[in-house]
């Protein structure tokens, strides 16, 4: 085969792969949204769930999803970003650092249900938090921590060394260099990492079944940290497997559609300003 022909063939194959991926995504979205969106109404999104009767809503679950996400990020971002900065900028290249790094990587690949079991044993049982919003948020933070550490470290390492040199050569301290040059330069990577983490957290169910529970407080939505905190993703699992309500199918389809829409919106909400920021920095 001559090189021109194989070049054409490769071009064709890669275009095809691109379309296949897009096609799968479009098909998936269409399936979820076309059956789910008709069930969405203001009453469904804000209403209280029903245990026995049809016509319940997912208001508390909707609130809990974001509440737990927010709390878990509040815990995980400072710790994760801090550890990432330490690994990239302060840690000496020795055995100890290597152990920390390998442990983080291993933690990142632990199945989430194992984190869930750990969270149940530690937070729910030992610390006597019960199935609660705070128990779920803490365990979710643990799940996301290793990912955030890695993303932070890698984004900082991707900053050209010349920025470090330039800043230090102007007589700035290491901390000034990190705060004013390195972190801003690494910000697009960090934002991508946080977005992925947040999306994953919104969709997480295994962990939360064990730690936040499958029910909501009678007073929900409530900021009470010890209230049980079923989220949308958990609710989706629950109504499809355990619920007694006759419209379980419809509630599940509506919940799935709502979850997908929320994750998409969240991504857009973070990605668009980030893109803008990046373009501005690059001088376009």
């Amino acid at each position: 085969m001559n090189s021109k022909l194989s070049n054409k063939l490769a071009t064709g194959v890669f275009w095809l792969i691109g379309f296949v991926i897009l096609g799968i995504l479009a098909w998936f979205l269409w399936r979820i949204l076309s059956v789910g969106v008709p069930h969405l109404s203001w009453d469904f999104i804000t209403g209280q769930p029903e245990d026995m009767m049809a016509g319940g809503g997912v208001g508390p679950q909707f609130f809990n999803s974001f509440y737990i996400l927010f709390l878990s990020l509040l815990i995980a971002i400072p710790l994760g970003v801090g550890a990432g900065i330490w690994l990239s900028e302060y840690a000496k290249p020795n055995k100890f650092t290597e152990i920390v790094r390998i442990s983080t990587e291993m933690l990142a690949s632990v199945p989430s249900i194992v984190f869930g079991l750990f969270g149940m044993l530690v937070f729910v049982t030992t610390f006597k938090l019960g199935f609660s919003i705070i128990g779920g948020a803490l365990t979710l933070a643990l799940l996301n921590l290793p990912v955030l550490v890695r993303v932070t470290e890698e984004s900082l390492r991707a900053v050209p060394p010349s920025y470090r040199e330039a800043s230090l050569a102007l007589g700035s301290t290491k901390w000034q260099t990190i705060r004013k040059v390195l972190v801003p330069a690494a910000l697009p990577g960090l934002i991508t990492g946080v977005t992925l983490t947040a999306g994953r957290a919104l969709g997480e169910s295994a962990i939360l079944i064990f730690t936040a529970g499958t029910t909501v407080s009678r007073f929900a939505p409530t900021p009470d940290l010890t209230a049980s905190g079923e989220t949308l993703a958990v609710h989706l699992w629950y109504v499809r497997s355990e619920a007694l309500i006759e419209d379980a199918q419809q509630v599940a389809e509506g919940t799935a559609a709502l979850l997908v829409i929320v994750v998409l919106l969240l991504n857009l909400l973070i990605a668009l300003p980030s893109r803008y920021l990046q373009r501005k920095k690059a001088g376009k």
Binding site: P93, S162, E165, A166
Partner: protein
């Protein structure tokens, strides 16, 4: 030779990267208010020596240094040197222009800001003055809030010089500052050094012997980590005392 105050003095300076010795027993004085050029083939240690003068070699692990480097009567390897304060006095321009991914204004204001200047008016003045000194003001005054990464390579390098001038150093270390630039930009940077040398002590590493001959007052020639010859630039280029210097400047090697 004019009598000038010594700004920087290296005595018996040796430098090791791990087990490899990169500089051997360097003894050299650099007078204030003049331009000293370091020339020599790649790997001869000239950039390494330059980076010892503001302790940028501290960033590289396993570097060991013996001997003294005295800047303004202070031995900067004496042990109680404030490295941050030293680098404010002894600034550096790098081989490749390295502006921060920020606006032109913020690039220049970066140094003054980290050294505690907050007032907008004061910063405005410093930005204009530094850019004017670096002969860049007229080209960028209408787009100070645009990203510095949108400038051409030559403009970026002059921006880096302006960024350095903004912290008001005494010494400018220039590590092959024109090697990534086109001839016209190179000329501009060279002209700039001539204007700056009255106010600053400049030490420039260059691969380009014509450049050293054009702009410097004294020149030091290095080979394999040893300083072979050091003297007035005119004399070193027209009548070198060492055979190796002559071989190098006449293009027999390097």
């Amino acid at each position: 030779m004019k009598t000038l105050k010594d700004k920087i003095r290296c005595s018996n300076l040796n430098l090791f990267y791990g087990d490899n010795q990169a500089l051997y027993d360097i003894n050299l004085t650099m007078p204030a208010g003049s331009i000293t050029a370091f020339i020599g083939p790649s790997g001869c240690g000239k950039s390494t020596l330059l980076r010892t003068l503001n302790r940028m070699n501290d960033l590289i692990p396993n570097v060991k240094i013996t001997g003294d480097v005295v800047v303004d009567n202070e031995n900067i390897y004496g042990g109680d040197t404030d490295v941050v304060a030293l680098r404010k006095r002894v600034g550096m321009v790098f081989q490749r222009p390295n502006p921060f991914p920020m606006s032109i204004y913020d690039n220049i204001a970066y140094g003054p800001r980290i050294h505690g200047i907050k007032k907008k008016r004061e910063l405005d003045e410093i930005v204009e003055k530094s850019l004017t000194q670096a002969a860049l003001w007229d080209e960028v005054k209408d787009r100070l809030n645009k990203s510095a990464l949108g400038l051409s390579g030559g403009q970026q390098q002059r921006l880096c010089i302006a960024r350095l001038l903004a912290v008001d150093p005494d010494v400018l270390l220039m590590d092959e500052p024109t090697s990534a630039l086109d001839p016209i930009s190179t000329l501009k940077v060279e002209e700039l050094t001539q204007e700056l040398k009255n106010k600053y002590t400049i030490i420039i590493v260059t691969h380009n012997m014509q450049q050293a001959a054009r702009i410097s007052d004294t020149t030091a020639f290095f080979l394999n980590g040893v300083m072979v010859e050091h003297g007035e630039t005119d004399k070193l280029f027209t009548n070198p005392t060492d055979q190796r210097t002559e071989d190098y400047i006449t293009g027999r090697f390097g």
